[in-house]
Symmetry: C2
Subunit: 327 residues, 2 copies
Amino acid sequence: MKATMKDVAKLANVGVGTVSRVINGVKVKKITKEKVLAAIEELGYEPDEYARGLKTNKSNTIALILPTIWHPFFSEFAYFVEEALSNLNYKLFLCNADGSYEKEKEYIQMLKQSKVDGIIGITYSDIDKYISSNLPFVSIDRHFSEKVAYVTADNFVGGQLAAQELITRGAKNLAFIGGNSPYPNETKNRKEGFESFCASQNMNVKILNMLEPIQDLETHLRTFFVENPNIDGIFAINDFMALEVIKVLEKLKRIAPQDYQIIGFDGIRIAQKKDFLLSTIAQPIPDMAHKSVELLVKMIEEKVLPERVVLPVKFVQGNTTGKKIKK
Amino acid sequence: MKATMKDVAKLANVGVGTVSRVINGVKVKKITKEKVLAAIEELGYEPDEYARGLKTNKSNTIALILPTIWHPFFSEFAYFVEEALSNLNYKLFLCNADGSYEKEKEYIQMLKQSKVDGIIGITYSDIDKYISSNLPFVSIDRHFSEKVAYVTADNFVGGQLAAQELITRGAKNLAFIGGNSPYPNETKNRKEGFESFCASQNMNVKILNMLEPIQDLETHLRTFFVENPNIDGIFAINDFMALEVIKVLEKLKRIAPQDYQIIGFDGIRIAQKKDFLLSTIAQPIPDMAHKSVELLVKMIEEKVLPERVVLPVKFVQGNTTGKKIKK
DNA sequence: TTGAAAGCGCTAACAA
DNA sequence: TTGTTAGCGCTTTCAA
């Protein structure tokens, strides 16, 4: 049978209150503390988080809602969230919404009962109305109402940076390849940043912006590049899109970085310590994760108002862009 | 303020016991049930999992202990575990042990307090002594004591299959490239299966088995292939190792599948719906995940004895092996 | 079929 | 500094 606090108290000849104080690090006379600790040791006592949670209305658990964990961006993000959380002695509920609005809702529901202390969410549905206003929530890449904190990479500057890097590497005919999600999110700013930089340099840009979910992506891409054969500098809305572009252009006998240059966005890697897949605008995933946790915990523990945080991106030279050209 | 069961009972003019029965689907007169349901609706009542857990000693939560979520094998596995669990209304604690024995131990400790109903673990340390015998545990790819269930892919047959596929594709000089983990696990059987099939065909095999953690992998590989320039059929212990081999051989101006053929193991994909990275012996990751959950839940709910399950692997033709040669 | 009440293991307020 | 005690929200036994 599992030992309870009462057992410990009896063995140590103290009251349960004292045991509780020892457990919680409240000041207790040294000699008493030692007695209690000895009793705990002897009985192999472990406090019951559920009794504690019932009493304190705290669970030391936060939930991470993700579209899917089976994606290098999200799994890297989850990795660093877990890291930060475990340093703070918080536990992590993993919620895979699987791209489904229904499942997101179900999870929110479940989380309310489970008394999580807060939520970090990358969600693509209108989740904010389901969040009770007193449950701290940090949103990634998605701007909700005033009540919700959010953390995002600087997508606009990322787009500008992509344009700049392509241009300084000698690209003359630029293109943006993107998908247009029906849900509001920050990725649209990538396109805008790209276009704005190009405009400032008086460069023309071809745009291929497909509505998601994209049907028959390959055909779209192929048509676009056949119609625009002189394109030599491409910015793709994310790394996966860039890889698709590379695949299609390979079939058209065009190879980067000799025949054209391409820059993705996200900076995904297939696993820890592996290389980036291509030249890309890398999001600061570890920072985003750490910052989200920091914000959330601040909201939980100090009842602080939500903040918004925009973190800088950086260009990573991979094997799909060439050398900078000196002016 | 959050509504409690008492509020519901009062509003519905019944006792709390009756509300509890309704919540838990115990038989109650239809008209009473309707009253209660109406009250629940009106108050937006949600049962408190913590109070429930305290009473029933159940949490409807299981923990998944992984070396790291930032790895396509583990994130795919986690994806399917989550899927199975969420169908059964279980929640998922994600525990990233980060390759550290210490952190694994800490997590086990934490899990005891947190009253998880069971654990699914891919662990590489001697965790079994920390698991109290009455906490259901399913181990992946690792054979513990009799008390622990385990699920694994058929590594031995996988090795045999790799040999067979290479040979039927015309490879004459075979090699195995592996890493040797200091911790016991099932991957050693891959090598044995490979060797056994080769032996049965009277084929010679060169072995490169490096002790982990591997220092200076590239040099080892390079030396090996310079010393054995005629190797034309390679089986790598896992997909990542295969990719390293490919990288090194590329520098030696050898390209698969023209100059040699190579087969990996695991069947990792960079994300859902993406292609396999190369020809490989694919583990049935979804099945493994589902089976683990099934086993674990059976152990939890029916107090059934641990089982061991070995699931079949299959060869996946990627772009690093050629066509079968007709005899 | 239902209500009343005990009690799960803990924290915190209060009293000593 | 410490012990005693009420009560967190629920389930479940017992009695009606």
